[in-house]
Symmetry: C2
Subunit: 365 residues, 2 copies
Amino acid sequence: MSASKKVMIAVIGVGGVGKCFLSQLRSLAARKPSPKLSLCYVSSSRKALYHDDYAEIALDGVIEALAASSRSPPTLPDVIEYLAAAPAKAILVDNTSSQDVADSYPLALSRGVSVVTPNKKAFSGPYQLWQDIFAASGASGAKVYHESSVGAGLPVISTLKDLVETGDKVIKIEGVFSGTMSYLFNSFAPAHGQGGAWSDEVIKAKALGYTEPDPRDDLNGLDVARKLTILARLVGLPIQSPTSFPVQSLIPKELESCNSGDEFLKKLAAFDSQMEETKVAAEKAGKVVRFVGSIDVGANHVKVGLDMFDRSHPIAALKGSDNIISFYTERYGSNPLIVQGAGAGGEVTAMGVTADLLKVIAQIS
Amino acid sequence: MSASKKVMIAVIGVGGVGKCFLSQLRSLAARKPSPKLSLCYVSSSRKALYHDDYAEIALDGVIEALAASSRSPPTLPDVIEYLAAAPAKAILVDNTSSQDVADSYPLALSRGVSVVTPNKKAFSGPYQLWQDIFAASGASGAKVYHESSVGAGLPVISTLKDLVETGDKVIKIEGVFSGTMSYLFNSFAPAHGQGGAWSDEVIKAKALGYTEPDPRDDLNGLDVARKLTILARLVGLPIQSPTSFPVQSLIPKELESCNSGDEFLKKLAAFDSQMEETKVAAEKAGKVVRFVGSIDVGANHVKVGLDMFDRSHPIAALKGSDNIISFYTERYGSNPLIVQGAGAGGEVTAMGVTADLLKVIAQIS
């Protein structure tokens, strides 16, 4: 196999997911037979490593080599131009959560550069961007895969695409789409046993690293709304944005103006009675409260917020910080197709990216 | 797009799954833009419909046209020769459960004809056949996809392949792999409430069409053993055959020699105390009994049979005739990746076949 037959890989982003991805890529490349890929570009927000002649970058020690590089990242259009002019087909792996990189997908795809990413921004932002992305992909034949944008490495997007593409009729999608929310409610209102006070559980989750640096970024529901936007669009609903449907925020109105996450956490206990009431109301009905997202396809209705479930319901029985996604379809009838497991974390998110990369390579090489 | 660029599709088998598959294919072909496929061959056990010039067979009314055909099916080597000589790449869709067709996959693959099938026989039969299939595929580049051979359309094989190919370490696979066994135990020993007598549940399951015509074909555990064989081999274990590891049969020894399923069903009640004892023993431990398969990868140990589970365990909480498959891996840690839902039925089995077909077309066209 000549070097020019290898697919060129460019990686933007070397944070938690990016580092895990590069590590998985190194293991892949060391395998016999190895996949036909060659790393030609890698960048952080401040540095870039690449060669004008597209010479292969060694995966061993790539993070150190990037840190030692004297080159700054070119502009995104220049990176895309570099890849479009490569002597082989190229794949852009976006391991950032940057809106700027997401905005460049239509250009990349239109130039024949495939895109693989866990970045939610492109698929959950303005509907026009979504349309531009898939129009560019359709016109050029370049692929765009984003399994890890919902549920990390769990087979959520691939399963939904299979259902839709083979002609099943999706009726409803429902689930727990946030590892943080899953942990909080499994602890606060467990299906069996007693939970702690709401603010205590939030503080504990932050200490365990289960929340964003500012927990309000989880509690506002926007992360879940972005994931629902992606799934709803895959089913064909023209969702305009992640704020164009009802999203319940768990941030008390009075605390929206806090200057910091720490100030918010200090003041949250004063509002524990609100969540406690919700929990007790569910208990009186023999149920538990959970933070879920749902898409009612027929009614074109998407919503994100608190709901109550029987203790024996799979959503109530969830453990730890697991996600669960239930697909109710015509073919599957009353019992949904369910996918469940860790929906966050560097390794499992990178796994979704790596698996997507292999699928794209299989199609374009 | 010229007709010669379309991928040629040959379909063997027009039973329950075959009919659903052809119906899904018809819906696909009617879509705009339609996938680049052309049906060039279809056969039942007695008839075949094809044209020597590979002219496209209309999907509308194909079952009727096949019934009206005057041609008998050629031998399998002749069918493969016909496909290998086609003016475009070809895919053989085997919707039978025939060992003969399965035995012909190495020849088809070596001649560049891809294979898509729900047929378990090729992948769970002699280990040599498994090796021959993947060696032929590796050498020619022809693809072989068989999602529906385990759990019908549920994303079981694709998920396991993604885990393995991206370098995760699979530690254990455990689950309920038979819709029949699922229904029987969910009814006989429900997690909440009382079940009926074992023989009554078997008779009820047969009446509902949930068992094979002779229920012993479900109760002997071989169907589950075949599925475990496939998954274990995908993880890399060189399982010689589905009878090379412990498989617990639920057919009482004294009834193995019954001449018919009906005779078996009549005599089964006399042995109800055996199953009742197992159920009571589980209840005393606060558990329920289930018929499961498991693969302990590190210990190279596969087994199929009865086991006990806590009432809150996802396997105990299963409903109806659903399957559940749990993947315990290094990346997913203590909480497994779980896939759950209907694992049998014409439409969902055909869906797995259709989805595989689309994936192969995306790679070879």
